[in-house]
Symmetry: C2
Subunit: 153 residues, 2 copies
DNA sequence: GCTTGCCTCTACAGCGACTGTAGAGTTTAT
DNA sequence: ATAAACTCTACAGTCGCTGTAGAGGCAAGC
């Protein structure tokens, strides 16, 4: 007996919000499930496994497009593992790059905060550190407008 | 003689793209500058300082709303420095939290990749690690649907 | 004066990955 | 029978920009 899951049950089982599950369906990441006569979605164990896979990959920061590729590979399990490995390695490289950026941010924020003596805003070290024309971080203020600002948080 | 800067000059001076400067104007982060008779924007040194401040704060990951608050504080420099300090500390806490998350991702990705023996996709360790129902990272799969998936990269 | 080539203008759509809302219908529990 | 909880669709909004289209402006060289 294959368990019949409504979208809410599936949501609680996987930790993916109901609206997000429907969104994944609209973008083709989840296949359209069967419906009851009244039109409610009914999911099986395969759907749950797939959603769990997606959730885990998203938690690791893989973009949706990459997950789409991984699923395509999954469906064709005879192929070489290299592409999967490459995707994971690429992701690891991205994560490490972001880690370095964040560590730099951490250092600068620490420096700013420790300099704050708690006076008035007019003489606040944090403020003057910010007003300082971006010397500390990545000061490309001379030549090119390569203004890729660090993607937030 | 106050230098008259067109938007392109300002852009090159600060490393903020022309379109982004105009965007900051529409959202009220930059004040509307003077215009030539033909309608082109003309900026002064104050505008450049303000834009440099914004750029630096954005590079540190402060959200635009927070920068708006900081600018409001800046305009009123007699007030206590506490709120500025608090904003910076909050940001530091956010950065550190994100650092921890990313380190966890790094560890899990390393583990996945080192387990990959390079066979076929059907038996790929990376794939089965992903299919594994989210045990490793933050397995809130029991009770609540608190599905805040780690914000990507 | 005229052309060339870059610069600037406005207005609006699109990105990624969802989230929120409105308004209506369905299922389950009491 | 009724209330509570769930589900449906469709679409707008989020954040911080980026890209596009089509039109007009400006300095330098001829």
């Amino acid at each position: 007996m294959t368990k019949r899951r409504t979208i809410g049950v599936l949501s609680r089982a996987t930790g993916v919000k109901v609206t997000t599950i429907r969104y994944y369906e609209t973008i083709g990441l989840m296949p359209p499930p069967e419906r009851t006569t009244s039109g409610q979605r009914v999911y099986d164990a395969d759907a749950q496994a797939r959603l769990a896979f997606i959730r885990h990959a998203r938690a690791l920061g893989f973009p949706v497009e990459t997950i789409r590729e991984l699923i395509a590979l999954q469906i064709d399990p005879g192929r070489d593992c290299d592409s999967v490995d490459a995707v994971a390695r690429k992701r690891l490289a991205d994560v490490r790059e972001r880690l370095e950026q964040l560590k730099a941010l951490e250092r600068e924020l620490e420096r700013m905060i420790s300099a704050c003596a708690g006076g008035r805003v007019g003489s606040c070290a944090v403020m003057s550190a910010l007003a300082d024309h971006g010397q500390c971080l990545h000061d490309d203020h001379g030549h090119a407008g390569g203004g890729t600002i660090a993607t937030a948080t």
